[in-house]
């Protein structure tokens, strides 16, 4: 499809849908617009396009076909948070909770509350933590909630601590969200050989200013920090709290838990490890769990059960609560899917998920290392990886001039996705592949074959890769000034019309 921008489809007079007018009401109330004072009444209608229904449908259907979802693709090139299979049956359940209002009387939402209550119980088992909230609308918001709890905790104790420690291969938001909460962020780098965060650097970093630590493990390199308990101990001894970024816990559910590692809190992205689909980037849930001692700091409300009334209810009575990080109780459809997914797998199934994710990842890593010239892993001295691997194409770049971004664009020609963003580029020319448990060996092989072909091209016909894509939906964007020059950037159609007269 060469589908136009929706405004270009406009044809004056066409209608996509009509609004229900109740003529009986209309007769009763007459001209309602005059109830609004003249100066608050909209004079010029918004310049939205006018399009008939079928054409609107067609437009967005075509755009959907120009998008590769995990349902269509072998999506292992996302990395750091590869989407797994989200069972279609879960969408049936989601459709049953669409029309629930958050302020309905508790008696009328017992099913919804029960699911939240039980998913909390499940996650307690999986993490070893003691209480979960589903309010954060994504991983970054969950990190922000952890930072908020750390602040509230020290404030309550009358301590003035303002430093948060993280590691460079933890998610960018592990640094960014605490900074928003007013913390100074100290970043620990890894041992250059093993890629494992440097415990000496941590020891040097902690102090009476240390409010806490927020880290992922395994990190985005796929490397698991084996001394994580020691890390937590060091922070605890310094008086800080330890927050675990378990956004992606896919390689370790049932294998290792926040509690045994020594964390005080942590979160899981339900739209990841627990299989809720990503919807192009949310809505989502970062399910936030804490130890008993921190329960009173959680955002309100949490779900409780009153055995006397035999009723699940929303409990707002958390004396130290940070308040809220998002209105209402979380993105409930995501909670429903995660609950259903765990119910479909059970204890052994969850462990199998982790094990196969790790097996798949190691299989892919070994194939790439053995068979693809120019590809290497980050910290090649350490081949132990859990659920993903950050690769480095430094050698390819040096030898051919073809870099990570070129390979990414060329993979699009094969109908595959590889994700660009692994900033800052500590690992030169980085690519991250995380296969999850959802793909068969045949599919992993298919992906690797495509990658192999692109690397072959890089050596034999580098222009093909550098000028890619050739047969994807669109072609290469070379002029990046439209993204950085205030005179050119066109963040909306109206700006494009203003700045470029609607011409490319």
């Amino acid at each position: 499809w060469e589908e136009p921008i929706v405004f270009e489809l406009s044809n004056e007079g066409e209608r996509g849908i009509l609004i229900p007018v109740d003529d009986k009401i209309k007769r009763e109330v007459g001209d309602v617009l005059s109830s609004i004072p003249e100066h608050m009444r909209r004079k010029d209608p918004p310049r939205l396009p006018e399009i008939s229904q079928m054409r609107v449908l067609k437009h967005y259907l075509r755009l959907s076909q120009e998008t590769l979802g995990a349902d269509l693709n072998i999506d292992i090139g996302q990395g750091t948070c590869t989407m797994k299979y989200s069972p279609k049956v879960n969408e049936r359940f989601v459709s049953m909770v669409r029309e629930l209002h958050p302020y309905q009387d508790e008696e009328t939402v017992q099913g919804a509350l029960e699911i939240m209550y039980k998913l909390d119980l499940f996650l307690r088992e999986i993490s070893g933590l003691d209480r979960f909230s589903f309010q954060p609308g994504g991983g970054s918001q969950a990190i922000f909630a952890m930072a908020s709890i750390i602040r509230a905790y020290h404030k309550k104790r009358g301590e003035d601590r303002d430093e948060i420690i993280t590691t460079i291969f933890s998610h960018p938001s592990d640094a960014a969200a605490p900074a928003v909460k007013g913390f100074k962020v100290i970043t620990i780098y890894p041992d250059p050989e093993t890629g494992i965060p440097d415990v000496e650097a941590l020891k040097a970093a902690v102090s009476r200013r240390t409010a806490g630590m927020i880290v992922a493990n395994p990190e985005d390199t796929g490397i698991f920090n084996p001394r994580i308990k020691e890390f937590c101990d060091i922070v605890h001894e310094a008086g800080g709290l330890c927050g675990y970024d378990q956004a992606n816990a896919n390689g370790i559910i049932g294998i290792v838990r926040a509690r045994e590692c020594g964390f005080d809190m942590g979160f899981f992205n339900l739209h990841k490890t627990f299989s809720s689909p990503h919807g192009c980037g949310g809505p989502a849930v970062g399910a936030l769990g804490v130890r008993k001692e921190l329960e009173t700091f959680l955002p309100v409300p949490v779900v409780d059960y009153d055995p006397a009334r035999k009723l699940y209810y929303l409990n707002y009575d958390l004396p130290d609560t940070i308040g809220k990080v998002r209105e209402f109780y979380g993105v409930f459809p995501v909670v429903v899917r995660a609950y259903a997914w765990i119910m479909a797998l059970g204890e052994e199934g969850l462990k199998e998920v982790a094990e196969i994710a790790v097996l798949n990842n190691n299989y892919v890593m070994h194939r790439i290392l053995r068979e693809i010239r120019g590809a290497d892993i980050s910290y090649p001295a350490n081949k132990r990886r859990i659920e993903q691997v950050r690769y480095s194409l430094k050698k390819l770049k040096d030898e051919t001039g073809v870099g990570a971004e070129d390979v990414i664009r060329r993979m699009a020609d094969f109908g595959f996705h590889l994700w660009t963003s692994h900033h800052p580029w500590i690992i030169p020319e980085p690519l991250t592949i995380e296969p999850t448990e959802s793909y068969s060996k045949e599919e992993l092989d298919e992906y690797i074959e495509a990658l192999k072909e692109v690397f072959r091209e890089a050596y034999e016909e580098p222009e093909t890769v550098i000028n890619a894509p050739h047969r994807s939906v669109i072609h290469k964007i070379e002029d990046n000034s439209w993204f950085s020059d205030p005179k050119k950037w066109s963040i909306t159609w109206r700006l494009f019309l203003k700045k470029h007269g609607g011409k490319l």
Binding site: I17, P226, G282, F483, T492
Partner: protein
């Protein structure tokens, strides 16, 4: 037996892969996890429902313990409102491609980029501002960001907000701006609900980073003094932020027309199901002015040209602002938020067009005004409580002889979810509830409510 969700759980395949890797068991692949922290226990989880049918049956059973707003009549709003969701919104939201896509690049996920660019562009027309970002978590979060932007722009540390703000939203903003900013509530006129301009003038100062107001307000009245408030704010060097319900913008002036520098709000009314409060999606709009744009923490998708002529491409504008690039040096943070709600809102606005959005506003006004008429005809009921123009919601004050709580319990028996009880957060409003009327309420529904209330109060 291999699980349908895990293809390589087939034993033969496992062995093949292990042998390729050169290890004898999966356990060996976990060698980097020390035994002392290994979890060797059994998680206490229910027996799995492996067959899809059993799972379906279980879920249907548990979910049948809910009563939905299609089963009962719902007159609750307050941040999540009952609206009609066109079938095409569901169709597009449910498309496997959009549903299961994540962070695809501009090439292989062109459709996703275009859809979100169109979201930005359509919202820009609705609020009549040049720049709109990719959607964020919720109105509350977007408002918090707008205040932090103001703080970064003018370095000040106080924000004035109306006392009539939604209690939910207040808690979100309050935690989000802490500790950078202090929120100061400005009082309201007890007659009209509007911001007390005198109090505003008293509280505004050289420390005021921003003044925030909402239109329509949480309590449903239209803040008609927007222009004056923005002027007061600007006069003292503060930035003016307005939160808005987008479903009102076919009939109400967009805040940019009376002085807003940043407009925020929620997308839920634009074709997104209530989802027990999970239907939120925040938006943030501002002028095409570098000072503002460089302080936006969220992603902005911009149009670009490709090497092929006459072909639209898309990419991130000023990506280096974001935490993806800059970690703690970034403008706040950005992550998975509410992209698919943005796509749905784009579909919704494309369907409605300029006439539809205006008719929607009119339809809502008609319902609310009709409801005022029939409810206020009930003995002792004051509807609306405030002498002001309203949109979608208004405060209904009931006679003291029955509390809102009791009234709502009795309404429930008649299959009606009554208005939100305001006594906890707004005790000064007496025995009052916040009622919501939208295009989904036909005359028979409102009459049913009125009849029930007559019986209950009579």
């Amino acid at each position: 037996m291999s699980h349908p969700y895990i293809p390589n759980s087939v034993e033969r395949v496992k062995r093949e892969m292990l042998s390729y890797i050169g290890v004898s068991s999966i356990e060996e692949l976990y060698a980097s996890i020390p035994e002392e922290i290994r979890f060797r226990g059994k998680m206490n989880l229910p027996e799995p429902l492996k067959s899809e049918y059993e799972l379906y049956r279980h879920m249907r059973e548990i979910l049948s313990r809910n009563i939905t707003c299609e089963d009962y009549l719902c007159f609750k709003g307050g941040g999540t409102w009952p609206h009609y969701v066109p079938a095409i919104c569901d169709e597009i939201a449910g498309r496997a491609e959009f549903l299961t896509a994540y962070a695809g690049d501009p090439y292989e996920d062109h459709g996703r980029w275009q859809a979100l660019f169109e979201f930005e562009s359509l919202m820009a027309e609705l609020v009549d501002m040049d720049v709109v970002t990719v959607p964020i978590y919720s109105w509350g979060h977007a408002a918090g960001t707008a205040m932090r932007m103001a703080h970064r722009i003018n370095g000040r540390r106080e924000v004035i907000i109306p006392r009539t703000i939604s209690p939910e939203r207040f808690l979100v903003i309050n935690n989000y701006v802490d500790p950078a900013l202090k929120l100061i509530k400005v009082d309201y006129d007890r007659e009209t609900g509007m911001i007390d301009l005198e109090d505003l003038k008293r509280k505004i100062s050289r420390e005021t980073a921003a003044v925030y107001l909402e239109n329509p307000s949480y309590l449903g009245f239209i803040e008609t003094g927007g222009k004056e408030i923005c002027e007061i704010a600007h006069d003292s060097g503060a930035i003016c932020i307005v939160g808005v319900d987008p479903s009102s913008l076919g009939v109400l002036e967009p805040p940019s027309h009376y002085g807003a520098d940043i407009t925020v709000g929620d997308l839920q009314p634009l074709g997104i199901h209530m989802n027990f409060g999970g239907g939120l999606g925040g938006f943030l709009a501002t002028r095409d002015e570098e000072k503002f744009i460089r302080e936006i923490p969220y992603r902005m998708f911009g149009l670009a040209k490709t090497v092929k002529e006459v072909e639209y491409g898309f990419g991130d504008v000023l990506f280096e602002r974001t935490s993806f690039e800059k970690r703690e040096k970034a403008k706040e943070f950005v992550g998975t938020a509410a992209a698919s709600h943005g796509i749905i809102a784009a579909v919704y606005l494309s369907l409605l067009g300029p006439k539809g959005i205006r008719e929607l506003g009119e339809a809502i006004l008609q319902r609310s005004m009709y409801a005022m008429k029939v409810l206020s005809s009930i003995d002792g009921v004051k509807a609306p409580k405030f002498r002001a123009p309203h949109f979608k919601e208004f405060v209904v004050e009931f006679p003291e002889r029955k509390s809102v709580e009791e009234i709502n319990k009795e309404l429930l028996k008649e299959g009606i979810f009554g208005g939100i009880d305001l006594r906890k957060h707004f005790p000064e409003l007496g025995n009052s509830a916040l009622y919501c009327f939208t295009e989904v309420h036909m005359k028979e529904d409102i009459d049913k409510l009125a009849d029930a209330l007559k019986r209950i109060l009579g």
